[in-house]
Amino acid sequence: MQNGEANVSATAQTSKRVSLLNRLYGLNGRILFGGALVLFIVILAIAAPLLATHDPLRVRMSDRLLPPSFDNWLGTDNNGRDVYSRIVYGARISVLVGSAVVILSTFFGTLIGLIAGYYRRMDGPMMRFMDAVMTFPSILLAIAIIAALGASAQNVIIALTVSFVPHTARVVRGKVLSVREETYVESARAIGLGDTRIILRYILPNTLAPLMVQATFILALAIIAEAGLSYIGAGTPPPTPSWGNILADGRAFLNNAWWMTTFPGIFIMISVLGLNILGDGLRDLLDPRMENNR
């Protein structure tokens, strides 16, 4: 009997750790797999100087259009620059632009969504304006903004933020509309809390789940959009490497230098795929209706 009791208390002590492990296992494979792909790209961006084998900007015309080899792992481009090193440095632009857009559009989108959802008088004017912005395809809107501001990483961030804010605002507003009718918001009012505190302590935390899912999808969309803008010359200006302008450089040599377009394409695919898988996994995890599947 004593033995059994000892076991019970030992179990109680470790139960916290065990449940954490269980949670990790319980996280569906999609979160782990998607998260690993995203982590890979982020590490690539952070450790670019360590991982690159060549200076991504060094031009050597004698080495132009070399196929992948032991020396140039992913070949060289039409200016003799190492494609692998350029892709590694290009990851920095993608991650930088992607995360800046996510942070900015989440911040402004949440602010607008909270105000529009909570104060019903603001809802009409604010959301109609958001709808108007949303009617422009986001790439087209971004091109127009960049045409006005000039092509640079900073302006890409501004342009993409403007075009993604309405999407986040919509998601947040929708969730706020349902949360504000919950009894616990009424009971918060009944204990004397004011609007600001109710929004920060009761409404905002309960909108975080859909917000996180939305953020991962916006990150993926922003990476694609940045590459797309750079590809058509409206994004990161050369010679700074970005996945989009590496692709653009390779366009003219599709017939004799497949590596110039294939590899940046694969990296774009890995990051977007990883983010989408991660977002799907998060949605399943955070959606209360999927509770039984866990």
């Binding site: 009894t183 616990y184 004397g192």
Partner: protein, 346 residues
């Protein structure tokens, strides 16, 4: 009393009117027109007294309760007239920040469904501390100590570990105890309970009602109990107010009301509730439905007349005033003497 150290336990149950409601009118402004959900309601509650507000769904009892703390959602709801005096202060004349200071402090509310009335992402400790942090200058640590003490008082076992529990980890009875703890933390003079036991099992209901009775006796708070359960009324209330279609139709001490209901609607409510003494087959229903608020607009005469067995031509043309049937029983009916007489005959 053992609780005097915490500032509770005022046994000074004098006859001061804690709450006095005069001619309260709450309207909902909709596209279909103005709906009078609460239409000229007046009542009062003394310290330490429990008044039950009874009626069918849609009779205006919950809106009355929400109006008391000015919690009726606006738009569409609006309190258009009357006075609500809490210890003499008119709540309807207060500014937004003044009424927020009153809520949870001088007047608190217990909700029907404790699971949805607790924020799912705050644990019990943080949720309850919120009340103290809002209304006093206590530190987080002091608030926590007060919360712990209150959880013990409402009979929550192992309160220290419950502080870290989230609402979904508690049973229904436990959640309602937490709600009661939250309402009592600031020692309110007025406690409004909106169907506090409706969502609970019968056995848990009895425990929660007993807890509420204990707490009322300890704190001397005035309690307004919203319910449609006559069993709860008999168990808890000192006086009963019966509402029908936005109006008070009868008001009486609980014994008087059960012994001799003077309004045909109250009589109908009694007859449609089973108890140990009713004969088999005797249970009756009130015919018809509560008129919708929209239908009331064009209605002359008594609002209960279409469903009433005692109704006469006079009832259909003129609405009766609230008049005294005896010195502590008032009733809104032209024929209350017939209603009382009919019971003697039976």
């Amino acid at each position: 009393m053992t609780y005097s150290a915490t500032g509770f336990g005022s046994q000074d149950q004098n006859n001061a009117k804690v709450l006095q409601v005069e001619n309260l009118e709450t309207h909902f402004i909709t596209r279909a027109g103005v709906l009078k959900a609460v239409d000229g309601v007046s009542f009062h509650i003394h310290a330490g007294e429990t008044v039950a507000l009874v009626g069918e769904s849609g009779c205006g009892k919950s809106v009355t309760a929400l109006s008391l703390l000015r919690l009726v959602p606006n738009p569409p709801g609006e309190i258009v007239g009357g006075r609500i005096l809490l210890d003499g202060d008119d709540l309807l004349e207060m500014s937004q920040s003044e009424i927020e200071d009153v809520r949870g402090d001088r007047a608190a509310m217990i909700f029907q469904e404790p699971l949805t009335a607790l924020n799912p992402i705050l644990n019990v400790g943080n949720q309850l501390s919120e009340v103290i942090l809002r209304h006093t200058k206590a530190s987080k640590r002091e608030a926590r100590a007060l919360v712990l003490d209150m959880l013990k008082r409402v009979g929550i076992s192992d309160p220290e570990s419950r502080l870290k529990a989230y609402p979904h980890q508690l049973s229904g009875g436990m959640r309602q105890r937490v709600m009661i703890a939250m309402a009592l933390l600031a020692n309110p003079a007025l406690l409004i309970a909106d169907e506090p036991t409706t969502a609970l099992d019968v056995t848990i209901q009895a425990q929660i009602l007993e807890l509420m009775r204990d707490m009322r006796d300890q704190t001397g708070a005035a309690v307004l109990m919203i319910t449609h359960d006559l069993g709860v009324v008999a168990e808890m209330a000192d006086r009963v107010i019966v509402m029908y279609a936005g109006r008070i139709v009868e008001s009486a001490p609980v014994r008087t009301l059960f012994a001799s209901p003077a309004h045909p609607y109250t009589l109908g409510l009694m007859r449609s509730t089973p108890n140990l003494t009713t004969q088999r087959g005797e249970l009756s229903a009130i015919p018809g439905l509560v008129p919708t608020l929209a239908a009331l607009k064009d209605m002359e005469g008594c609002r209960f007349a279409p469903r009433c067995a005692f109704a006469s031509q006079k009832c259909r043309e003129h609405e009766p005033p609230l008049e005294n049937a005896s010195n502590d029983q008032s009733v809104r009916c032209w024929h209350w003497d017939q209603v009382l007489a009919s019971q003697v005959a039976v």
